[in-house]
């Protein structure tokens, strides 16, 4: 996977006026900083509530207070992250857009965890057959089914047990990556790297079997 080189922290003069003000106030002392931190928390809470509003339909068993609490926790955690990473802000976007992503991340992760709270995490395929049975499929679908059969063979033979567990949980059983990271004591970045490596092996397995995946890019 590509690694994007990170430029040095932004100098104030290179930033838009609003971002300059945020950084200056958050790096100051006393009442100016306190007021800026309070404004930042309000901004992060707005973003966290925005995310909760978008996803709450997927959690019908929760009450309004649960969502309010979750948004507040997300804003609190995002505030800590943003203040700890002020020197990472490079001015590649407005400060508010940069800060929003921390609140959205915190809220999204908490919502996914909540959705899977108390649920068993399936680490093996619920149905090992990836290919539908029944009457023979026509044309393109038949080719796809043939690909799926080779992929299924690749999952069983070409992957390490850890790669198989991660691939199956994330792509076949729909376990969110943060939830799986919690369960396996790993991180989202590490699990995605495992998934990426597993996918590359599966593509290699297809190539060795004489198949290409161009059918997927024909859509």
């Amino acid at each position: 996977m590509n690694v994007v080189p990170q430029p040095p922290a932004a100098s104030l003069a290179a930033l838009d006026p609003d971002s300059q003000r945020w950084l200056r106030d958050l790096r100051s002392d006393g009442g100016t900083r306190d007021e800026a931190v309070a404004r930042l928390h309000a901004l992060l809470l707005r973003a966290a509530r925005f995310e909760v509003g978008r996803r709450r339909a997927a959690l019908p068993h929760l009450r309004g207070n649960d969502f309010d609490d979750l948004a507040l926790q997300a804003a609190d955690d995002a505030l800590v992250s943003v203040l700890a990473r002020l020197d990472d802000f490079r001015g590649a976007s407005r400060f508010t857009t940069w800060a929003y992503k921390f609140a959205l991340l915190e809220a999204a992760v908490k919502l996914r965890r909540l959705a899977w709270q108390g649920r068993e995490i399936p680490l093996e395929p619920e149905s090992w057959s990836l290919v539908a049975g029944g009457s023979p499929a026509p044309g393109r679908q038949a080719a796809q089914n043939e690909l799926l059969a080779i992929v299924q063979e690749g999952i069983a033979t070409a992957l390490t047990p850890h790669q198989r567990r991660v691939l199956v949980a994330l792509t076949l059983n729909g376990v969110p990556i943060d939830v799986l990271a919690d369960r396996l004591g790993s991180t989202r970045g590490a699990l995605y790297k495992t998934l990426h490596d597993a996918r590359r092996k599966l593509r290699g397995h297809l190539a060795e079997a004489g198949f290409t995946t161009t059918i997927l890019e024909e859509e």
Partner: protein, 75 residues
């Protein structure tokens, strides 16, 4: 049963080079602002679009940041 090409796409992921989750998070704000401004975000941040295709969690967070920034612009 799910369409075979959807299942294959999920299993095999994006075909080209892609960022990881950490790289995606680092670039997401810049990418979204470029999208909102109508610039070629994919040329400016290679590999991010491919990652969004392969990672549902990052895709959700990208959709939310894009929607939030757009809603601010329109208000």
């Amino acid at each position: 049963m799910e369409r075979p090409d959807d299942l294959l796409a999920r299993l095999l992921g994006p075909s080209g080079p892609e960022l990881g989750c950490d790289g995606c998070f680092a670039e997401l704000d810049r990418y979204v602002e470029l999208e909102v401004s109508g610039a070629d975000a994919d040329a400016a941040v290679p590999g991010l679009r491919a990652h969004l295709e392969g990672c549902p969690a990052c895709r959700e967070e990208h959709e939310s940041l894009l929607a939030l920034v757009r809603s601010e612009q329109s208000s």
